[in-house]
């Protein structure tokens, strides 16, 4: 049961990235922005954002798998368990910082009006 509960924490939304939704803006950007070099830059940033999110999601799944393995062991200790969580939180913090970098990079590539059209509906 505990693994199920921690799966909720890890994969159920509470621990997944908070800015993941930005990658969904790709289609709207294609509608809102004219097809030029600036749009190409914006789409490249979104592609990078997607790549970073996918890497993070892979890490989350790996953590869940690692937790499953360690909890199945008879020799598991509090320290073993805490080590997994600490590593997870550290990687999650790095992910959040990267996503913020990308969010502000995107902002610099778009006008205020474009930003409103792409994200105001969220």
């Amino acid at each position: 049961m505990l693994i199920a509960l921690f799966t909720i924490l890890l994969l159920g939304g509470s621990l997944t990235g908070m800015l993941d939704f930005i990658v969904d803006a790709q289609d709207t950007v294609k509608v809102v922005m004219e097809k030029d070099d600036r749009r190409k830059e914006v789409l490249a940033t979104l592609k990078e954002t997607k790549k970073r999110t996918e890497a993070h999601n892979k890490m989350v799944k790996g953590t869940s798998k690692g937790m499953n393995t360690i909890l199945s062991s008879d020799e598991v200790t509090d320290a073993d368990f805490d080590a997994i969580w600490d590593a997870y939180f550290a990687q999650r913090a790095a992910y959040n910082q990267d996503m913020l970098d990308l969010r502000y990079q995107l902002k610099d590539q778009m006008t205020r009006e474009e930003w409103q059209q792409v994200f105001a509906g969220d």
């Binding site: 049961m1 921690f6 200790t77 969580w85 205020r112 969220d122």
Partner: protein
Amino acid sequence: MNQLFMRPAGALLCIAVASLVVACAKDDVAPVDVEKQAFEDLRTEIVVAITDPVREAETIRLVGVLEEDLAALRTNIAARKIHVRELNANYDAPRAEFEAYLAGVEAEVRDHKRRVSETHRALLANMTAEERSAIAKTHTKAMNAAIKTIQSI
């Protein structure tokens, strides 16, 4: 710590079934209703499995605590998702505001993890091995229902 994980096989089953539940759950019943029913079934099985009235009442209470924690988590996730989207929609939102918000979420998640661990530890300690075995399937069902509900947000 080992006491926490007295049923590794059952725990493994939890993780395997969790993903299946997401795909197989009925579409015509709201996930929150499935979860509610699953917890009700769990309470019913606890009443049958535990004959000591004092431990039975305490176990039922602890299941209620877990259920409340999960409901609070569900509410928090929904609120966080709305808030971060609103923040992002603001072209001029300062980075410091994002960072403060994310730090708050982080602290909240750590606290939630701690509370879930403590409640679960108390729940297991309150039952015998036979009693835990008797409710294992329903227990798993309730947790999977909770996962489904949260993933539906």
